[in-house]
Point group: C2
Chain length 242, copies 2
């Protein structure tokens, strides 16, 4: 199986997604927040590019049934119901609702994925589900790490590396990797015993901690704590029916 | 000493270069070609963005004293004297001449470096010179890997990692690294004994080999084979006077 990982959403990535299984990873925090929202009973998460677009969509879908969520520079957007902290996405706040989510890095990737066959949201909190589903689909895989403002992020690369490692060891997948995938695998294997520390001491982990979101960082590193499988269908991220 | 490495020239990198020593790395092939040209006695290498700009500059400086060099998609640009193969930059062709060079990745970085205090061209072929000069300057360091069309490249990251490793071991530099620098260091240390193979088997190494440039790939991996120190001054890359 051919597996290409991208450390950031590179230019022209759209051309490399045809018929692939795509895994979008932004564990601090969009991927983790999406898992949490769906686990808490949200009907769907709609990823959008900009706050204005989110507000328009809310008017279209209906104010009663929607929740506006997202961040810029890590903080809640003015006038929005929720920020981008997974802890906010409780049953009380999101059950039965459609979340319209706009974040700086993660949600933007979903707008560039049209050609893919299967589009999953990957995080540490649902890693085993992603491993099984990507292996079962049998398509070649593209892993896009959302990164941080166009730059590489260590936590997404580690998560991508863990996915590769588990595909190799649990699923005995024969993998043909691009250079970035080999690098992610090396990074994971060198840090597998210190995953939480590596992530919390990383640039983005420290930034979020400084903003008061240390609990989010801890939550994002809890492997398999949210065993849901978010899948993008018709521009909405939902839990795959099994 | 603070050292930040960038796997690719990220957006807004200009804002992070003030008063730093900057090392630009694009070993396949711009950095290696620049070293070779200066070693062969070229007066200077002027990095420019586009072929049209190169031709205009030639007219301005003088056709007799200049050589147009560069590539797009790895191949020589139509109407240019030389491509981007270091092997072409012989004494016979470049001695005493000013090279106007435009490449897809490496030369573009030099147009974004204005705020830096000292701007060096780094490659494996001149690595020891770069290690010594960056340590001697004593400024904080930024290492920019040119990458490949906006994507990470393993050969530049390895070279950056080797620079970090040598600063730590040879120069006993106390280093405070960003996440990407830590990653580059890990990559180098995991591949230090197989540097040539890792680079020639990498994506760009294979691409160049397919185009017939296997000798360039080999040449670029010859550590310290061109002990020159290219430095950017007044938009021209020259050998630093000692």
């Amino acid at each position: 199986m051919r597996i290409d990982l991208f450390l950031v959403p590179v230019p022209n990535i759209e051309s490399q997604l045809s018929d692939k299984t795509l895994v979008v990873i932004d564990i601090l925090r969009a991927s983790t927040t999406i898992c949490q929202a769906l686990k808490s009973g949200a009907r769907a998460v709609i990823p959008v590019m900009e706050p204005g677009e989110a507000a328009e969509m809310r008017t279209k879908i209906g104010i009663e049934t929607t929740v506006l969520g997202g961040e810029r520079n890590g903080l809640k957007i003015e006038g929005f119901d929720l920020g981008n902290s997974p802890l906010e996405y409780t049953e009380e706040k999101v059950k039965g609702k459609t979340i319209i989510l706009t974040t700086s890095n993660g949600t933007r990737v979903y707008n560039r994925t049209a050609a893919s066959k299967l589009i999953l949201t990957g995080a540490l909190v649902n890693i085993s589900r992603v491993v099984k589903r990507t292996a079962q689909a049998g398509n070649d895989i593209v892993i896009i790490c959302a990164g941080q403002n166009g730059d590489f992020s260590i936590e997404d690369t580690l998560c991508g590396g863990m996915l590769l490692h588990r595909l190799a060891t649990d699923e005995k997948t024969e993998m043909e990797l691009n250079d970035a995938a080999s690098l992610a695998l090396l990074l994971y294997r060198s840090n597998s015993r210190t995953l939480k520390q590596t992530i919390s001491r990383g640039e983005h982990g420290r930034y979020l901690t400084k903003l008061g979101f240390e609990a989010d960082v801890n939550m994002a590193t809890e492997t398999d704590s949210m065993p849901v499988l978010p899948i993008l269908k018709d521009s909405r991220i939902i839990i795959e029916e099994t």
